[in-house]
């Protein structure tokens, strides 16, 4: 747990004169689960967009395994080993569940036109591997995404299953770092509890390092090693859940300044 997997230094991004994030220093060690919390508009999703390459920072450095990934295309960032889910689930709705997961292995595979046309041995082998890995990933969520469902279009899934499929799709890119953007949003308490357990298993069984944006404090408390609080694009606190939850700045950011400060 000593090596720094992700190291972010003095990150700043500006949209039309407005600092969405500024002076962000942040790091993730191998094997950690870090939660990023903060009130709405604090810049959490922008933070994810910066790491995954969808937005380029105005200033600052993002190092992944010691190498800068600033300015790389999102597809290259993914192939380096950073996968993400989206806050407002964005699957490929008309592809089947299996295809959704298969297509995510694009950057781990290499067959081009000729392999497909000549049906070479390498091509067949790769296809079989892709399929096998896809089934393996889907199997992680129990019976929910396998069997007859694999050939159903993604839009036919229930909301919770879409969230699960999105996590599965991110897992299929074989990342080292998994960015989960509100993984349990919109789920009911039981589904939430189940997914909380799965997030823990993602680390223990699959060896992913995880950065998670979450509003559900119960989930944050249960799984995170460390919590980072953002407010107005600035990190205001870092530390274990217990430290952070009692930090007066954090309480203020969430609840506002108490009228009577005598407590």
């Amino acid at each position: 747990m000593s090596e720094r997997l992700l190291d972010i230094r003095d990150l700043k991004v500006t949209f039309g004169g407005l600092d969405a994030l500024s002076g962000l220093n942040f790091h993730v060690d191998e094997g950690e689960i870090v939660s990023v919390i903060g009130p709405n508009g604090a810049g959490k999703t922008t933070f994810f967009n910066l790491i995954s390459g969808l937005v380029a920072p105005t200033e600052g450095e993002i190092l992944f395994e010691g190498e800068s990934i600033v300015g790389l295309d999102p597809s290259i960032v993914t192939s380096l080993g950073i996968a993400r889910t989206f806050q407002n689930v964005r699957l490929f709705p008309n592809m089947t569940i299996l295809e959704n997961v298969m297509v995510a292995q694009h950057c781990r595979t290499s067959q081009q036109v000729f392999g497909a046309l000549l049906q070479t041995k390498a091509f067949k082998k790769e296809e079989a591997e892709i399929r096998q890995r896809a089934e393996e990933v889907l199997g992680f969520f129990g019976h929910r995404l396998v069997g007859y469902r694999m050939d159903q279009p993604a839009f036919a899934l229930s909301y919770a299953n879409r969230r699960r499929l999105e996590v599965a799709r991110a897992m299929a890119t074989q990342p080292r770092l998994l960015l989960l953007d509100e993984p349990v949003a919109g789920m009911n308490p039981m589904e939430t509890a189940e997914l909380t357990g799965l997030i823990g298993r993602l680390r223990s069984e699959w060896g992913f390092t995880i950065v998670m944006i979450e509003h559900d404090m119960k989930v944050v408390r249960d799984v995170s090693d460390r919590v980072v609080v953002l407010d107005h694009g600035v990190p205001i606190a870092q530390g274990s859940y217990d430290e952070v939850s009692t930090n007066p700045d954090v309480v203020e950011a969430y609840l506002g300044r108490p009228v009577e400060a005598n407590k």
Binding site: Q87, F92, E99, H106, Q111, A116, S158, G186
Partner: protein
Amino acid sequence: MNARAMTLPRSAVDQDWRHVLRWGFICGLALVALCLVGMPVELDKRALIERHLSLGYLFVLMVPVAIGWVSSTLVALEGVENRRQGLYDLITGLVVGLIGGGLLSLLMVALDNWNLRDPLVNWSPQLLRFLTYENGMGFGAAAWLSTGAVLGMVGASLHVVPAVVRRTTGFVVFGLFFLSVLEAAISDLSEGFGLESLTDWLYAKKGGLTVTSTIVVGLVIAVASLATKGRVKAATERYRDMDGIERQKASTVLFVVIAALCVILPLFLGKIMNELLANVGIFLLLALGLNIVVGLAGLLDLGYVAFFAVGGYSTAVLTSPNSPWFSPELHFGVALVFVVLAAALTGLLIGAPVIRMRGDYLAIVTLGFGEIIRLLFMSDWLGPYFGGAQGITNIPGVDLGFATVKGTDPRSVFYLVLAFCAIAIYTSWRLQASRLGRAWMAIREDEQVAEAMGINTVNAKLMAFVVGAVLASFSGAVLAAKVGSIFPTSFMILVSIIILVVVIVGGMGNIAGVLVGSFVLIGVLGGPKQPGLLQEFQNYKLLIYGVLLVFMMLKRPEGLVPSARRSRELHQQEFLQDAWLKGDKLDADDDETGAPAAVSAGDEGGEEE
């Protein structure tokens, strides 16, 4: 209330008269427009059933039937008890047809009294003669009013009669229609098999079915349709329910049969039919290529004709001795290698600047490129290299050693096209189920997410352009060898649009759909310059293409033969609803944990937007 109204059910009186009147006027305007465009008079020359029914009259008579049917259609909601259709609908159809006939009669009166020949070229005495059946005005008006009313009612009554009757009538009418319309093809085919006596009996000397054959064939079709009732459906169901291996076996058998037919049939066909098939093949090849670009990768390329042109011109330059600038006179096969390279390069050159553009900008810019390429081939500037407006002539045929493929022998051209089509079909089929194909689909669905999931969208899109370009260049090469000369006018934007119509009408993203589309459209109606089976349609085929494109987009955007995926995409709501009603286990058993997960993604997504 008089006695008559008392006997009618209430629903017949409480019609939605505004709805009925609106459809009536639509019917009438459609009829008048049809007449003024000149279709009936021109198509009147083509007899369908001796001199009793011509294609012209059929086109006019069809309108009230179709609109009668449409105007009395109920929106069928599954799971909801519909009102039973009955008298209400018959009256709707009757009134609609009556109004239609009325407007047509008004047109007749106008034709008789005013001369508007000046702007309206079809405002002619022939039209008047056509409308009055060469009788007086009174007769004509009475005839149109009554036939309009009757036909409107017939259209509407199709909802009322039992399904068996509807089905049988449908089969008989369409069967007879195709039999009479495809007269040339059938005569040609039976001549090849030595069955002239059959066609002599079927068709009258002046063209069209004879009355006796109409009745006999009609009866045969009716009996056949009654006998096969439900069998076809059962067979397809059985095919659908088969497991992997069995299904593959059945598919292989089907494929072998079709392939054998394709190889053997042309031997029995005459020159005209083979020519037609060769044209269909050329456009099929283009459509298959465009299907990869538009259907799989979702890039609306309106300048697809550019690749066709590059294929044609590079073949011409490399093989023709008349090429004005560089004339290596290569063999077709050798030239093809360079043609493919040239096309792939053009694909990259045109693809690169447009690859990052929004979908609709991409469409217009590719259209621009298509036009630029044609203008360049035509210009005096590149004239010394590509012959300008005079084009390149004297392109040799394809020398295969044992035979030469050239335009004068359309059968050989057909076989050449067939070979290329086989390659194209194989390519589309294999690519669809490959890593690249999946990447294309992902890009079509959501480009940004595809990028975030590790797909290099730029490369994948360029690949789609290149593959599409290569397939189009095959088509261009065949065209050059077939026609023996190449002119810039063969590569108008029109070609791009027609191929787009073929792909869309057939069914985007679906090989079988594209096949059906090109046979139906190019084969029957004809290509931009190539005549189809219905040569009478020559002047109207573009009009029909336009109408078809709009109609398909509005009513059946998934095409005639939809791919399962595409129809799901366009009818997500219905798909989910149907599955729910049928009790399909879509995702219904997922809520074991309790409360429905009803929070929509959109509500949650508001946070940092």
